[in-house]
């Protein structure tokens, strides 16, 4: 009997599924995880209204629904690939997918059971928090849990490529995962904007559950037949902790916003930053310095810093970081400008669709422009298409900075966003190629992950800091425009709409400035033409041939 059991448990021969089938199945959760990165942009106003979050004091906290996800997604991306190297792809992938599903359930019911549990815990500890704040906190926790699972799926899938494909066949599957990841967040707002016309925002997250469970069953099945190599060496716990601390401290520090207290008596006080901003940024700087030190000395570093000695690797990643930041300016500005024009909450559902459509004018061209970007990079090298893209994006931002008044048409907004999207999209292939080509063959997976991570880091930093910058600027302008008199409700609202549009125009000009700034690392990019690679390849082949051939 025991022998029979052994036969069917250990070392049972399994049929190996096609690597492309494995890739297709593991890509589905990657897509959903990325979709949830941007899905909230369209539905956030509905969330604000339903949870009864006060705009003047709660907007900075609401921003954490977006930046909390981005932060956890980025942190998870940095080290879960390595964790899967050590304890096996299949188990780590399935656990992370499970975490994503649990996070989705949490988000869908955030203001119900989880919020009640947090409230009960707080009250038992003698606290009486605002129920709205508790519901929002619960939502943010759910989003962080979701992202921690979702973000891990990208590097594990990329690492899986190394298990499934020989080195010379990894470029295409790696590109596919990158494309699936990008496609997810590119269509997230449009999907959210369309779906919210028919269903409650919570349903969008409930939908993740059956899809996630199906993906869980399929990947459980398909990964059974995949070889599970375990890497030697240890996990860089200290490095992971320090990097996580750096990212969290910098995001919270930059995102630290006005905290209205009863002691404040003027708007000037309202616009000051809380006292923990400086210390948190200092903690971030110290943690990052320590991280660099630890990584240099570690025998199993989380990130191989030696890669940054390569010119194209550093230049490409720096460009990606700035591009991520600039991209977020577009992603943040469009929903705000469209939603502030809604005359009452009944128009928010329609506004969600408009947000999804105008944001798609940014993200879909960005995704599509990656193709000509790659082609131009092959033909003219990495530098030219990157520079052209950045200039085009800068022009789009400048036009937005000059034209986005509260009366601007959606068509005109879309036109400017297309320019920004095409511009930023042109940079993605050349910078990614520059980063990948600069890395040795055995480091290309981690190189691709670092490039993705830095683009997301740019977006995270933008999401957390832009809300602070925008709200502070709005409050400063409000002091000038409203002064010490009491305004009539409609008059005050009109002033705020006008001020918000002005701040968005200023943000767009900041986007243009960043694109111009990104020209510096872009200009450092070298090579990249396909014919140069061909020549190098032929030269290497020739050198490898035995003499006399």
């Amino acid at each position: 009997m025991q022998a029979f059991a052994r036969r069917f448990t250990a070392n049972r021969p399994r049929t190996n599924p096609s690597p492309w089938l494995v890739l297709a199945l593991v890509s589905l959760p990657v897509f959903i995880g990325a979709l949830d990165l941007t899905i909230v942009s369209a539905i956030l106003p509905e969330v604000i209204v339903e949870l009864q979050i006060p705009l003047e004091s709660g907007l900075d906290d609401v921003a954490w629904v977006v930046s909390g996800y981005l932060l956890a997604y980025t942190i998870s991306m940095t080290f879960m690939g390595r964790v899967s190297d050590l304890i096996g792809r299949r188990s780590v992938y399935l656990i992370c997918l499970g975490i994503f599903i649990i996070g989705s359930i949490w988000v869908a019911g955030a203001d119900g059971l989880p919020a009640d549990a947090i409230m009960s815990l707080a009250r038992r500890m003698g606290q009486r928090p605002d129920p709205t704040a508790v519901a929002l906190l619960s939502l943010i926790i759910g989003r962080i849990v979701q992202a921690f699972g979702g973000g891990a799926l990208v590097p594990i899938s990329m690492a899986l490529v190394g298990d499934l494909f020989p080195p010379h066949r990894r470029a295409q599957p790696l590109g596919l995962i990158g494309a699936v990841d990008m496609a997810g967040w590119v269509v997230g707002h449009l999907y959210g904007g369309i779906m919210v016309q028919f269903v409650d925002w919570r349903t969008l997250f409930w939908l993740n559950v059956p899809v996630g469970l199906l993906a869980l069953a399929l990947t459980w099945w398909v990964l059974r037949g995949v070889r599970q190599p375990r890497a030697a060496g240890g996990f860089d716990f200290v490095g992971a902790l320090l990097l996580g601390l750096t990212l969290a401290a910098i995001s919270i520090g930059l995102g630290a916003n006005t905290e209205v207290t009863a002691d404040m008596t003027t708007f000037e006080e309202l616009s000051t930053l809380p006292p923990y901003t400086g210390p948190l940024l200092l903690v971030a700087a110290l943690a990052f310095a320590l991280f660099l030190l630890v990584e240099r000395r570690s025998s199993n570093p989380l990130i191989d810093l030696a890669l940054f000695r390569r010119r194209n690797f550093t230049a490409g990643n720096l460009t990606s970081l700035i591009v991520g930041f600039a991209l977020m300016i577009g992603l943040v500005s469009v929903p705000i400008l469209i939603n502030i024009r809604a005359e009452d909450v009944s128009q928010l559902t329609g506004a969600a669709l408009s947000v999804g459509l105008v944001m798609s004018a940014l993200t879909i061209p960005m995704g599509l422009a990656a193709v000509p970007g790659g082609w131009l990079s092959d033909r003219y090298g990495h530098r030219l298409p990157t520079a052209v893209g950045l200039v085009l994006a800068a022009i789009g931002f400048v036009l937005a900075g000059l034209r986005w008044f509260e009366t601007v048409s959606y068509g005109e907004m879309a036109l400017h966003m297309i320019m920004v999207g095409v511009g930023l999209g042109l940079t993605t292939s050349p910078t990614s190629a520059a980063v990948l080509n600069a890395a040795p063959d055995d480091r290309r997976g981690i190189a691709a992950a670092i490039d993705d991570m830095l683009r997301l880091l740019g977006m995270t930093l933008a999401a957390s800091s832009l809300t602070t910058i925008a709200l502070r600027r709005v409050s400063v302008l409000a002091v000038d425009r409203i002064g010490e008199t009491v305004a009539m409700t409609q008059e005050a609202i009109n002033i705020y709409v006008s001020i918000t549009a002005q701040v968005i125009r200023e943000l767009a000009l900041l986007g243009a400035l960043l694109c111009i700034l990104a020209l510096l690392p872009a200009w450092m990019l070298r090579g990249g033409r396909a014919k140069d690679f061909q020549a190098e390849y032929e030269q290497a082949q020739h050198a490898a041939r035995p003499a006399g051939d």
Binding site: I48, V49, Q52, I53, P54, L55, E56, S57, G58, S120, R123, R124, R128, D130, P131, T132, V260, A262, M264, T265, T266, F267, L270, D344, V345, S346, S475, A478, V479, I482, G483, E484, T485, V486, A487, T489, A492, I493, Y496
Partner: protein
């Protein structure tokens, strides 16, 4: 030893708290509110909306604040205007009131009436204020002891005349018909901690859930100050 502990606990549980007279509990709770030097208070409305302005635009959600004897109150009032939530900070000292709102007053305090006729001393200390409201409960019944967030409380139920509740709360609870009341009083110190008022007359086809007010009074004699801005 474990068995002995369980037996002792069982014995003490059976004789620990004699059932008090509901009226005596309420009288003592009302006195502790009236005599308090300060306390924190929160008021939350759920169910059918309640508009606190004549035009029927400003929908009350909740208020959190504190009272300092004899006549000072500071609170943050959350309201819904056209479906959008907003906070108004209010300070009342005697008959003087100040308020501010990020948009309406540009975040500046202004000296104007937010709640016409409100006076904290009248509400808390006078014989015609909260004490009378609590004493005016009809059909009082003691339901027993309940654990509310880890604190043992006497649970009393009763009803009250709506117009009286409305007058005492300066129109904040605009009840006309009788309201149902659940009162929770701490077993350990006799402080009234939670009052739940249900207005069955607010139920309609559009709003099937009645307006329910949860008033919590806590942190008696806590360290609070209220100053004019």
């Amino acid at each position: 030893m474990l068995v002995l502990s369980i037996l002792l606990a069982g014995c003490s549980g059976g004789t620990a708290t004699p059932t008090p007279e509901p009226l005596a509990l309420i009288t003592e709770a009302a006195r502790s509110i009236r005599d308090a030097e300060s306390f924190a208070v929160s008021i939350e409305r759920t169910g059918a909306p309640v508009y606190i302005d004549q035009a029927g635009i400003i929908n009350f959600l909740r208020a959190n604040g504190h009272y300092v004897a004899p006549d000072r109150v500071q609170a943050r009032v959350r309201v819904l205007v056209s479906g959008i939530a907003g906070d108004v900070d209010v300070i009342a000292i005697g008959n003087d009131q100040y308020y501010r709102h990020a948009i309406l007053t540009g975040g500046q305090w202004i000296n104007a009436e937010f709640s016409p006729g409100f006076n904290a001393e009248d509400l808390v200390r006078s014989e015609s204020g909260l004490s009378r409201a609590m004493g005016a409960l009809n059909d009082i019944a003691l339901q027993g002891i309940e654990d509310i967030d880890g604190v043992a409380m006497w649970h009393l139920t009763g009803s009250a005349v709506g117009s009286e509740v409305s007058a005492l709360t300066i129109g904040l609870i605009p009840a006309q018909d009788d309201v149902l009341v659940d009162l929770y009083i701490r077993v350990d110190n006799g402080h009234a901690e939670r009052l739940v008022i249900v207005q069955p007359d607010t139920v309609s086809e559009e709003e099937p859930v009645p307006s329910t007010w949860t008033v919590e009074v806590y942190d008696y004699n806590g360290d609070y100050t209220v100053e004019a801005p």
